[in-house]
């Protein structure tokens, strides 16, 4: 969902705590491996459950894929033929097992509508969505982290209050309104300095690529940045209450060192989780931005696939989103291992 940005509360992500000085020191690496393995099994089950769920949901959807493929002029017999051709006459479970078999061998089938292999469609769209997502995330973090750090350093002061108000405002507008405003401002309304629609691959024309993704990325990042700032600020203020910050201060370290070297890392766990969740979410659906700016991304593909009942394409898209979710969760877990030494030992 496009604007579920705020849907993860910071509390969900507190890294697991543990008793100090208790665990055996030697088994650290082994424990980390065990932890990862356990997560992998869990996430594999998630994958299977999600793909199965999507088959069930698709099966429940009214509207007949065969009718859509056969076209408005088709006769019933012809629709039946199409249905048989697409294999839609078989029971759902059979189709699922069949599809799963294909997934294992790397065959995701073909789009009902255009006949394009689903793997090819994914290969065309994933880089686009990926670029958009990552750049938007990086921009959001670049804006949010300094603001959050400074706001936590001087809570209630000008920077904090102003960025909070702007942030609240950013979270109070649907994304498409921002997009519309940006188009009016930069693409054909007041000025014409950026393209309103279209996407050029980086490998085709790097400069054009940057020009085409500026507005979509800005639209995506505004609300994200607001949420990130709020979250990091809150965690950072909490960290700044810790004794070790007082200790660091008493050592004579300057505020900059304390904020960046001592407080930022232990404050960043929730932010990393949320950012990860958002990347996963955006990879699956920047639909509104893609539609508004005519970006050939995955979100548009998935939504169009639902509307066209292009089940194979939809199934492939959902599989990718689920895999992305799983992989990102793994990455977050690994990041925890890197960032929080306390997690490393325990499992």
């Amino acid at each position: 969902m496009a604007e579920m940005t705020i849907a993860t509360p910071p509390t969900t992500t507190a890294p697991p705590g543990e008793a100090p000085g208790r665990a055996p020191r030697g088994g650290r690496r082994k424990a980390a491996v065990r932890r990862i393995r356990r997560r992998l099994v869990h996430l594999l089950i998630v994958l299977i459950a999600v793909t199965f769920l999507s088959f069930v949901v698709i099966d429940l959807l009214p509207g007949d894929a065969a009718v859509v493929v056969a076209g408005d002029n088709a006769t019933p017999a012809q629709v039946a033929q199409v249905r048989a051709d697409l294999g839609l006459d078989r029971p759902m479970l059979v189709r699922y097992v069949d599809w799963l078999g294909g997934v294992v061998t790397g065959d995701l089938g073909r789009s009902f509508r255009t006949g394009q292999p689903v793997t090819e469609a994914l290969a065309q769209r994933i880089p686009v969505t990926f670029e958009l997502t990552i750049i938007a995330q990086v921009l959001a973090l670049l804006v949010a982290v300094p603001l959050a750090v400074y706001s936590a350093y001087r809570p209630g002061r000008f920077v904090d209050r102003t960025s909070m108000t702007i942030g609240f405002g950013a979270a109070a507008m649907p994304q498409f309104v921002f997009g519309m405003v940006l188009i009016v401002l930069f693409a054909g309304g007041l000025t014409s300095i950026l393209p309103a629609t279209g996407y050029t691959s980086f490998f085709t024309d790097p400069l054009d690529n940057i020009r085409t993704i500026i507005l979509p990325c800005l639209t995506l990042m505004i609300a994200e940045a607001a949420v990130y700032r709020q979250l990091l600020r809150s965690d950072m203020i909490s960290t700044l209450q810790e004794d070790y910050i007082l200790m660091a201060r008493s050592k004579g370290l300057g505020p900059r060192t304390i904020l960046l070297r001592h407080a930022l890392r232990p404050s960043s766990f929730s932010l990393i989780t949320l950012s990860g969740v958002n990347i996963g979410r955006l990879l699956g659906g920047t639909v509104i931005v893609e539609t508004l700016f005519a970006i050939p991304g995955l979100g548009q593909m998935i939504v169009q696939a639902v509307f066209n009942r292009d089940y194979m394409l939809l199934q492939g898209g959902l599989l990718f989103v689920a895999v992305a979710y799983v992989v990102i969760n793994m990455i977050i877990d690994l990041l925890y291992l890197v960032l929080d030494p306390r997690v490393r030992r325990d499992a």
């Binding site: 000085g21 070790y244 200790m247 050592k251 004579g252 370290l253 505020p255 232990p266 929080d340 306390r342």
Partner: protein, 389 residues
């Protein structure tokens, strides 16, 4: 190390009152390393104003150990942090009084000036080693950053020095420790690390804020001995804050007893133990420490609760809990007075804050009065065990 007479009735104004300047000069001429003059700290909270520290004055010479003793909430931690400058005035925090360290007025320094003193000249050891080390930084890095900052050591030299420091605080395998994270060490080991950090730049003054409260009983003595050992070896002055009068008996030169944000009695250690004047000090001494059970469980040894600093009692702050409290105690706050004039009060530099100081006829009279009516003037019942034998 002479507590100057406070101007208790004077409303705190600004940090640079003429008296403050005078005190600084005087302290410097006396060779005092640290002079604290009429320090006040007030927090403006949602529920009212908290008088955390009220007109505390004291001084500390090079190489001297001063113990600040008081219950939780007596303001000793706030006082320590104010001395260091970690608490400064803000919209919610009102401060006044001066703190002079080695001739310079800390209370007039800006953040930059303070940073140059902190860690280098004055170091701090906090109560809880579990929380005072950064959980995501290696031990070594937490030690070396002061060395690199203040002593301009190279990273390599700093690392070598960190190992040395850990060895000097009695940690085994220091080479391995520097690469470990705090959670991999026990509480006692961590406190040794914080001490190593504090001592890394050989400060002239160490503020130890309840350095053993959070530790197991067996470890407490070790840490205190270590501190004492290092203090005498390095010849630094130490302000040892504790709630446990026992532990400072053999480890301090002087003791200042704090209650409700004020110093209620101050004397050389031996003198204080020989002849406590303030009933509160007496009560602290007579309180029987728990021998078994978790160390952190606080037993109600002195009846009543520490005063609410939002609405402190009028008169003597201790009066609601004092077995000798008379009517005067409830209305009139006693000033800090010199004990030299009292019977048996031969010692110099012994001040107390009481209308009926222990060991005087007035006190005996008050005790009798209260015993007769079965309760103090504040209405606290007087029980037999409260009366010292």
């Amino acid at each position: 190390m002479r507590p100057t007479m406070p101007r208790a009735e004077k409303a705190p104004t600004t940090a640079t009152a003429p008296t403050g300047k005078h005190a600084r000069r005087e302290g410097y001429e006396d060779g005092a390393l640290l002079t604290v003059d009429d320090v006040h700290v007030r927090f403006h909270t949602r529920n009212g104003v908290v008088h955390a520290v009220e007109g505390v004055s004291l001084s500390l010479s090079e190489g001297e150990v001063l113990a600040v003793v008081g219950e939780s909430g007596s303001g000793k931690t706030v006082f320590t942090r104010r001395v260091m400058g970690l608490i400064a005035g803000s919209r919610d925090t009102e401060v006044s009084g001066t703190v002079t360290f080695d001739g310079s007025t800390l209370t007039e320094l800006d953040a930059k000036g303070l940073s140059a003193v902190w860690g280098k000249e004055i170091a701090l050891v906090l109560q809880d080693p579990m929380t005072s080390l950064n959980p995501v930084k290696r031990i070594g890095a937490q030690i070396t950053e002061t060395l690199i900052l203040h002593q301009k050591l190279s990273k390599q030299d700093a690392n070598a020095r960190a190992v040395e420091l850990l060895r000097s605080v009695g940690l085994s395998e220091p080479e391995r420790r520097v690469r470990q994270y705090p959670h991999e060490l026990s509480g006692g080991m961590r406190q040794r690390v914080t001490i190593a950090i504090a001592l890394s730049c050989s400060p002239r003054l160490l503020l130890a804020d309840e350095p053993t409260t959070a530790l197991d009983v067996t470890v407490q003595a070790q840490i205190l001995d270590l501190l004492g050992d290092l203090q005498s070896r390095l010849g630094m002055a130490m302000l040892l804050v504790t709630h446990d009068l026992r532990v400072v008996r053999s480890r301090s030169d002087r003791i200042a007893v704090m209650y409700a944000g004020r110093i209620v009695e101050t004397a050389p250690t031996k003198d204080l133990f020989d002849a406590p004047r303030m009933p509160y000090t007496e009560a602290l001494m007579n309180a029987v420490p728990p021998i078994t059970g978790p160390n952190h469980v606080r037993l109600a040894v002195i009846p009543g609760r520490p005063p609410d600093l939002l609405a402190p009692p009028t008169g003597c702050r201790f009066s609601p809990r004092c077995p000798y409290a008379q009517d005067r105690c409830l209305t009139e706050e006693p000033p800090l007075r010199d004990a030299a004039a009292l019977p048996g009060g031969a010692a110099v530099d012994h001040s107390y804050r009481c209308w009926y100081p222990v060991g005087t006829p007035e006190n005996a009279q008050a005790r009798r009065v209260n015993a007769e009516r079965g309760e103090t003037a504040a209405g606290t019942p007087v029980t037999g065990e409260m009366v010292p034998a």
